[in-house]
């Protein structure tokens, strides 16, 4: 009996080993292949977007009045109330918690600088401040993922049409606001889709043409163009800007280590003067 069992085990084990040898091994999916010298050479053919780009805030101000999104009826009432509160000196904290402004609101209402990096297969946008702002736009031909992984800036894929970068973005967190000022905007509530055409309108002027589809808050797609200008000669580089530092101050703990401790703020986010 014991020898028969042993024989069965041996047969099963050898069959399994044979199957393993005959089954083709699944190859890992390479999504970031090592760039070639040609990939790097091709970057030189792209337009020059180097330097520090700042938003044209006066144009943001103008569009907040002259080019409002086609809010649906419910949201329009909320927005009307926000404008009234803003005017009354009780601005709503759209960007609470130091979360990123997110896409597309970063492009729409930021007050801070950004830089744009070209590397093989990718365009990267880096924000100067306001909570870890970063956009990766894949230009390597990949599609959006089958399984959504929502994020503040969504999943962006792009392609070059001449000197224009055409970007398609999905999978943005439903909590990400669609904002037209720092105090007026509502969460997109899901299913938002953003397309962009980004190009140099002049030597030091970058245009970002956006078309935003947000079916849960808008009645139809909204088009807007946002303007960034380049500070080429300024002796100033983009810097790290950690939003939450504004809520802390430097201190020493009981062991003498340098630490940050929370400070008091008002309900509007203002600092409180010492008594």
């Amino acid at each position: 009996m014991r020898s028969r069992l042993l024989a069965m085990v041996v047969v099963l084990a050898s069959t399994a080993a044979a199957d393993a040898q005959n089954t083709p091994k699944k190859q890992p999916t390479i999504i970031n292949p090592p760039p070639t010298a040609q990939d790097y050479a091709d970057l030189a053919k792209l337009p020059d977007w180097s330097g520090v780009w700042n938003p044209k805030i006066t144009d943001q101000d103008r569009q907040a009045r002259d080019n409002p999104p086609p809010w649906n009826e419910k949201v329009a009432k909320e927005v009307e109330k926000m404008w009234a509160e803003e005017k009354a000196g009780r601005p709503k904290l759209i960007f609470y918690g130091c979360f990123p402004e997110a896409h597309p609101s970063w492009m729409l209402v930021t007050h801070n600088a950004m830089e744009i990096l070209f590397t093989p297969g990718r365009v990267t946008m880096l924000g100067e401040s306001d909570g870890n702002r970063l956009r990766r736009i894949y230009t390597d031909g990949r599609l959006h993922p089958e399984t959504p992984d929502p994020s503040f800036h969504g999943h962006s894929i792009g392609r070059w049409e001449g000197d224009t970068l055409v970007v398609d973005t999905v999978d943005i967190l439903p909590q990400a606001p669609l904002a037209i000022s720092e105090a007026v905007g509502v969460p997109n509530d899901g299913d938002m889709h953003v397309t962009e055409r980004i190009y140099l309108a002049e030597k030091d002027i970058l245009h970002v043409e956006l078309e935003i589809t947000a079916p849960n808050i808008l009645t139809k797609p909204w088009k807007t163009t946002r303007i960034f200008f380049r500070q080429r000669a300024r002796k100033f580089d983009i810097i790290e800007g950690v939003c939450q530092l504004g809520d802390y101050r430097e201190a020493k703990d009981e062991n003498g280590h340098h630490v940050f401790v929370p400070i008091e703020k008002t309900e509007w986010g203002n600092l409180v003067a010492p008594k």
Partner: protein
């Protein structure tokens, strides 16, 4: 291309969630300041906090328009360090604790609070002037 985003599980929270009051970390609008009013404080710098998203300057002094209050510490808010560098020529050591300054500012609408939005800082010992209008950086030729 179509959007294939689908909510992948939303926690049903009973009632409406009040957002933002307890957690005030934010870069915010500035309409809590009365921009139609300008006040002036003369005093000594307590601290320049060179941090995002809003640099702040604390000054211990007397506000001319509220002289009856006597000396007190007022906190002035501004835009981010990067924007102050670009728009107002600021730097981290633009002003130091103990220096005598004059500050023009728009006060908080809530008169109970000693805060304001800084419009112009003059360092009295050197005469250096720093402003904080974020839109100034759009001026052509500004370097």
């Amino acid at each position: 291309m179509t959007n294939h985003f689908k909510p992948i599980g939303v926690l049903a929270v009973a009632g409406t969630v009040a957002v933002g009051i307890a957690s005030v970390s934010a870069h915010h609008s500035t309409t809590m300041f009365d921009h139609s009013t300008t006040m002036m404080i003369n005093g000594e710098v307590v601290e320049l906090r060179w941090v995002n998203p809003h640099v702040s300057l604390s000054v211990n002094g007397v506000v001319k328009e509220r002289a009856e209050d006597g000396p007190a510490v007022w906190v002035m808010e501004m835009t981010s360090p990067g924007n102050l560098v670009r728009a107002g020529g600021w730097r981290r050591d633009a002003v130091k604790a103990g220096e005598k300054v004059e500050v023009l500012f728009s006060p908080l609408r809530d008169a109970e609070r000693k805060g304001g939005a800084l419009k112009k800082l003059t360092v009295l010992a050197t005469g250096e002037v720093f402003t904080a209008n974020i839109r100034e950086q759009e001026r052509p030729g500004l370097e």
